[in-house]
Subunit: 430 residues, 2 copies
């Protein structure tokens, strides 16, 4: 359809007084469409949003000041929303059948904020929707398909907005002035310090993305790294980079599933892979980690999570990350407990992911014309919605980001305090 | 029976060559008792321990160098061990029917180390034992009985070995030179920093022991504290101390169950109470914490835990801590997940409890004559075994110590990093 109409400068002064009168005084001769829309808005918690229908009718059910305006361009889109609001909103936004006039992140946040409340007391409809939208399975072949869907759409695309490191996971902002690239390097150092990495250590990495962490461990800490990934595009990029940096002898990028890791190492790390593992495979991941760790090794798993078990937002799971799931800590414990792995440290850096995503979205929006050339307008809007929705997810507390450090059950050579993680300790990298 | 025969200077050179030949070459004409004992030692994993029977027979089944010698003084004691080794060893040690010649902690450690392995694959006997030894219930009345059993045996007794602070929980040793009292103060500061305590803050404490933390929060951080406890002896001590320190107007010690906490506070803390709550009450504790927390409050729960769900050692549960349980993290999540509480930080300081207990045991042993005057020899040995066994529990990784920091689900005013916990940050206490 058309270019984005989102504007940061939306003002609620333009909302008509009629619409703002709210549901208690229905507009005379409101259409069936407007009535159905009202019911839908009430069901999702009366967000302070004005909806403009293709008929020109304006609907607001909240008594609070309106934050943004959503345009629904035809009847079929509205009916789609009524049938499956979870998925259809995203699809219609992508195709341009829905447009948002106002701050996209804020608009999604007010909807997500209420979703959290509903999660606590799911209706039969919610439960049904969860079953319909249960994640795809992550068998060896299924994982390959699921990962290909997301990570093999082209390094050129990701290079437009991920920044220098090409790290596609939550960064760590040591202070509010840090740039995206600085925050990614700080995150990699944070991870290396958490596993007490030192020169000569051997590391196995399960799911290495474009290789930034593996290369950082080798170049800055003198580690030898074997890094596993099943995305061919990412591996090709990572190997080129290793060659360019002269690190090919210290970092081995292996195209294989984490389940085929062999050998024993001084550290096991997995950053941003757990989301794709599938909860039914958590004990298997724990067994792989346990077998890969020397008796005094430290392990680290970094993953998006939740405060309580709940499925991933189903549009994200269907269109962006097939097979993905963000676990609660009770679920993550299925990785560790069967193998007597001892959890030493869990840090929740949720708000750092909101900062990371805001940096990504800013860069993405600046590159939208280029993305349109690579793909099309629908793709542009789909990824814009995904990034904005993810910010909303982390800012509303719908999503968390857990870093878990663990070791084998009888290892007594563990750091006594965590002071070495912070700047008061001598930096371990040179 | 008699005074303790444990000696730190035990040498395995005195063990007879015959006994060290091990099981593969059974001593001619071994008694039925010796044969049964061999079966028992094999069942608990062939610890490198020599056992001397009342007949003078010496039994060793391990091929490894012998670490210590256990004397069993009569047939009834051996038969008791065969029926219920979990509880009878502790009872017989207390009564003097069993004596240990060698390092008591090390002796218990080799037995516990194997218990961990058995836990992973419990036999039917192990499962039966778990059921027989399931913990006592912690209803309001049950809790009162259980707590009275342990904490009301006399402040004079605890004052002999707990140190200046009378803190009866895991301390935190910022360096290896720290004394017990310094480590307890460092632990209280660690807790206060974790909940970002500042002057004027209101705090509710669930289970306050002898009041050390509540008084520290008021005197060093300027907080106002309401501290709940159901041990009358402890409260009496705590109130006297508040009066002596001129803090009665800032710290209120309340004789009531944590379930009756009311009001909303800037911080919720509970240090060393969860062990007594009972797993079936975890969601209730979470509800109490959630209701007691302002929307931007931080909470902290400090508890003994496990790497995987397992019952407390049954002699400890029966004789020392009725109703107690050390949860795995999957179990602790039942506190948080039902209420959308967000876990921000989990630190496992297991080895600090081993250090704390070693300091306590050293002081306890120096005070044993005084303990005997207050109680009797059986009591002296019972508590010696409990302290030594607890050291073994933490050093073998059978027990963990978790500090969990959490907040309400939608609180975005949380610390971005944990740097403020460490000495590089300006200390919050004056």
């Amino acid at each position: 359809m058309n270019a984005n109409t989102e504007s940061e400068g939306f003002s609620d002064a333009v909302v008509s007084g009629e619409a703002r009168a709210g549901d208690s005084a229905p507009v005379a001769a409101a259409s069936w469409s407007a009535r159905l829309l009202r019911a839908l808005l009430r069901a999702i918690g009366e967000p302070p949003i004005e909806v403009v229908l293709w008929t020109g009718e304006r609907v607001v059910v909240s008594g609070a000041p309106v934050l943004s305006r959503i345009h629904i361009h035809d009847r079929a889109t509205l009916f789609g929303l009524l049938r499956d609001p979870f998925v259809r909103f995203g699809d219609a936004y992508s195709s341009g059948h829905i447009e948002v006039d106002g701050d996209l992140v804020q608009t999604l946040s007010v909807i997500l904020g209420d979703e959290q409340t509903r999660e606590a007391n799911p209706s039969i409809l919610d439960r049904l929707a969860r079953w319909v939208h249960r994640p795809k399975r992550n068998s060896l072949a299924g994982s390959r398909d699921n990962i290909h869907h997301h990570y093999d759409i082209g390094n050129a695309f990701y290079a437009l907005w991920l920044g220098e490191t090409m790290a596609y996971t939550c960064a760590y902002y040591p202070n509010s002035d840090a740039t995206l690239d600085q925050a990614h390097i700080a995150k990699m150092d944070h991870v290396c310090r958490k596993v007490r990495l030192k020169s000569g250590d051997s590391v196995v990495e399960a799911g290495c993305g474009w290789g930034a962490l593996a290369l950082h461990m080798a170049s800055r800490y003198g580690a030898r790294v074997r890094a596993f990934n099943i995305s061919r595009e990412q591996l090709s990029y990572a190997r080129d980079r290793a060659k360019a940096l002269g690190l090919s002898d210290r970092v081995e990028f292996i195209e294989d599933d984490y389940r085929n890791i062999s050998g024993r190492y001084d550290a096991f790390v997995s950053v941003g892979m757990l989301e794709h593992v599938g909860i039914e495979h958590y004990p298997e991941l724990g067994r792989v980690a346990c077998n890969a760790m020397k008796s005094e090794a430290l392990g680290l798993i970094h993953s998006i999570g939740r405060n309580r078990p709940a499925p991933l937002q189903p549009w994200i799971e269907r269109r962006i990350f097939p097979g993905a799931y963000a676990p609660a800590l009770s679920e993550m414990s299925r990785i560790f407990e069967p193998w007597h792995l001892s959890v030493l440290d869990i840090e929740n850096i949720r708000l750092h992911y909101a900062l990371t995503l805001r940096d990504w979205l800013r860069r993405y929006r600046a590159a939208e014309e280029r993305v349109r050339e690579l793909f099309d307008g629908e793709f542009v809007r789909m990824w814009r919605l995904y990034l904005a929705g993810s910010i909303a997810g982390f800012e509303t507390g719908t999503l968390q980001l857990f870093q878990v450090v663990f070791t084998t059950g009888q290892n007594n050579r563990v750091p006594m305090t965590r002071e070495h993680l912070y700047s008061c300790a001598p930096a371990m990298s040179s």
